[in-house]
Subunit: 225 residues, 2 copies
Amino acid sequence: IIKISNLTKVYDGSANEIVAVNNLNLEFEKGEFAAIVGPSGSGKTTLLNMIGGLDRPTSGEVNIDGQDIWRLSSRKLTDFRLKNIGFVFQSYNLIPVLTAGENTEFIMQLQGKPRNERSRRIKELLEAVGIADREKSRPNKLSGGQQQRVAVARALASKPTFILADEPTANLDSKSTETLLEIMELLNKTEDVTFIFSTHDARVVKKARRVITLVDGKVESDVSK
Amino acid sequence: IIKISNLTKVYDGSANEIVAVNNLNLEFEKGEFAAIVGPSGSGKTTLLNMIGGLDRPTSGEVNIDGQDIWRLSSRKLTDFRLKNIGFVFQSYNLIPVLTAGENTEFIMQLQGKPRNERSRRIKELLEAVGIADREKSRPNKLSGGQQQRVAVARALASKPTFILADEPTANLDSKSTETLLEIMELLNKTEDVTFIFSTHDARVVKKARRVITLVDGKVESDVSK
Ligand SMILES: Nc1ncnc2c1ncn2[C@@H]1O[C@H](COP(=O)(O)OP(=O)(O)OP(=O)(O)O)[C@@H](O)[C@H]1O
Ligand SMILES: Nc1ncnc2c1ncn2[C@@H]1O[C@H](COP(=O)(O)OP(=O)(O)OP(=O)(O)O)[C@@H](O)[C@H]1O
Ligand SMILES: [Mg+2]
Ligand SMILES: [Mg+2]
């Protein structure tokens, strides 16, 4: 249901052009649990950002459920993202003036979900990731790993169709990582949520059912277990 | 040469107090290569920040080479840090308007090191961490792992007596991590630079010669290999 064709992203470097993603072709089906791995700078974040409607491709297509998302008007793309995509950013991108709870409920608010459903969902998720007692804390009062868990809770809270998670366990200890992966696996199996991770973490790769290796913006290997 | 006595840090949480570091005692000798591990939220960053003169303790002492650093005037503490401590921050804290090269040379400039020595050192380090070709790029043009490597290069460039590195490999692939650890080991062995890491990364723990485990702000175990 995600069909990526000839996808390319070129950045203007200060010295020369940087081809971050290079004429890439890839397909994902509903309910996948896939990990994208590769060296630092190989294009993982750029690829996720293009799939997630956050970074416009230089050329090529991202087709989601038959919709070429980059042909949508920016309003319709924002709307599509809101309805369908949950994103965990590599540097969390939490809103500094909102508490952990408010950050988590943010997307659900934009989606117009009713208040009691939102409060229930916030409690549920912050508890699941082990930081329920910090619901009222702002991001600058939280440790790196606690912020990362809020970022994950935010992406999961709205139960989107797809979750794109950019290195969601980078600042987490083994126990927190294990817990997070269990929550994600559960969502994946019971609600058919599609998960695409970018990761350097061997523990995440182990759980993934498909491992795509990127090198210099190209797919070097694509292995399904 | 680092003597930590009864060190405590209490934060005012929104609901109640948070005892981030709890009456901790610890000693480090010159030339150590030690890793501090423990669950997310266990106090690793807080501890490093107090050792590094960045976060004032609630009570207790940090004594470095006989100097109780928290008794120094803020000017003398800043000066002490500049001369002796290299810090790699968990979220890099690069200066957004400076390029990778300028970020790397920043501390050396403050230390008044001559221009040719600075340029040589920048090239040397950016090359060592594999991003020499991005010297002229600002942080927002770099991948997460590239930014992390600039943060490391910056800490190493001024050849400080101590390097406090807060999860320096969190966003790095295996190869970059290995390279980084080799550079650090070399500095440690040839120049007696003391390294204290906070980490969740099994590869870093493996290289460390001493592993200190923190749980709820206390030392749970302290093992030298
Ligand atoms: N400014 C602050 N105000 C309130 N609480 C804080 C503040 N800074 C840190 N804390 C809390 O102190 C505890 C220890 O935080 P610290 O950042 O030292 O943990 P950590 O071991 O580095 O965690 P991680 O592995 O997630 O980076 C956490 O519960 C954190 O939320
Ligand atoms: N805005 C930009 N301008 C110029 N170059 C960029 C920009 N954004 C990313 N790049 C470059 O594109 C390449 C791919 O970056 P990307 O962030 O996708 O890598 P990554 O695989 O996520 O790396 P990491 O594992 O370090 O997070 C890198 O060389 C990066 O420096
Ligand atoms: Mg990335
Ligand atoms: Mg930390």
